[in-house]
Amino acid sequence: MSDFKKILKNNFWLENPVIVQILGICSTLAVTNNLRNTLIMTIGVTLVTALSNFTISAMRNLIPRKVRMITQVLVISFYVIMVDIVLRAYAPDVSKALGPYVGLIITNCIIMGRAEAFAQGNKPLISFWDGFTAGLGYMFVLVVVAFFRELLGFGTVLGFQVLPNSFPKWTIMVMPPSAFFVLASFIWIVRGMQIKKDVNQPTGGEKK
């Protein structure tokens, strides 16, 4: 059981895919100017990562080594297309708002990274958990970035007006460049906290 806990802690905080591994940056920049779209996108990524990890892990002993990566991409795109079809049929407004980004989940490095690094060598259930928590780590970062971008760019949170109308809207916040600023500041703060903790930990005489 402690394995599950460790994976959660690693994927969510210590080795957060976006903050520490700097993976999946494209989509982080692209979809975070609006909190609602970000939530739907990250839920999609989380589900795809979890399910593709599960599937790849379940068939890991059958996959020939030569076509390992192709098979992984096949499984990932299978789930992404599924998400796309379901959104198009049952949430057309959302699907319209996200446009091509749903299809681009396929190219999200986090999914491929987890499949290759974890699912390929572990049992299905724990692989599912690993994918799921990696998705949550991704979601956590994107939601924070999107929250600040939407708040400062539109004066709203999830579409509700929270800042007074007299607040000057920062147009830059809804444009792609602002994602760099917000994400970089966020990485700076989080990494600062993590490194500080490392330094303060007694290491029993061993030099770090």
Binding site: P64, F78, I85, T171
Partner: protein, 202 residues
């Protein structure tokens, strides 16, 4: 044989079976939902036509009912021309397609019977910059066109502040989205002559 995972035969068979299995599931799902997807696309169009014509509705179901009972559609010169009676006046609408800054903009343009005023405009799909050009979908922008006079066959989308007059054929552009605003102006200028020839007015 069974566990010789690197033999060519096994690789080919494995790839084939896996691709085939996933493909069958996906195409099944696609067929199952295609009806729903088609319905959604129709709904987008119906809502846009009603919005452009200025016919109010409260729910999607009501929109479909109103569309079926009030709006008639005919095909003229390969264009779909919608017509309806709104507040005792005949209103015509046409589906438009034109290029914006990043991609295609499609929507519905509604005019009165002698093509002297725009009744309304609504967009079905666009891929303009979110927060800038994408704001053409916001109601303040679309409402500017409501009952705006058509002057010299077009409506000017002006980048300078224009007076709130419905007779000068001018509306405000979106700040920071001049190219998108100008694209809308161009699309309207393209479709007004088409509407005129379809309706037989000069």
């Amino acid at each position: 044989m069974r566990f010789d995972r690197d033999s060519k035969v096994y690789t080919v068979i494995f790839t084939f079976i896996v691709s085939f299995a996933f493909l069958v599931v996906l195409s099944g799902l696609n067929v199952m939902t295609s009806q729903q997807v088609k319905k959604n696309q129709e709904l987008f169009m119906i809502r846009a036509v009603l919005n452009a014509m200025g016919i109010p509705y409260t729910s999607d179901d009501e929109a479909i009912d109103i569309f079926k009972s009030k709006v008639t559609m005919e095909t003229k010169d390969s264009y779909n021309l919608f017509s309806a009676e709104v507040d005792g006046e005949k209103v015509y609408a046409i589906l438009f397609n034109g290029s914006g800054l990043w991609g295609n903009i499609s929507g519905v343009l509604a005019v009165n019977s002698d093509v002297s005023r725009i009744v309304g405009i609504d967009f079905i799909s666009q891929s303009e910059t979110p927060g800038l050009g994408g704001r053409i979908e916001e109601s303040w922008f679309k409402e500017q066109f409501r009952n705006e006079a058509i002057v010299n066959g077009k409506v000017l989308v002006s980048t300078t502040k224009v007076p709130d007059s419905k007779d000068d054929g001018q509306v405000d552009a979106i700040t920071g989205a001049t190219l998108t605003s100008k694209s809308i102006e161009k699309i309207i200028a393209t479709y007004i002559p088409i509407l005129k020839s379809l309706l037989g007015v000069n």
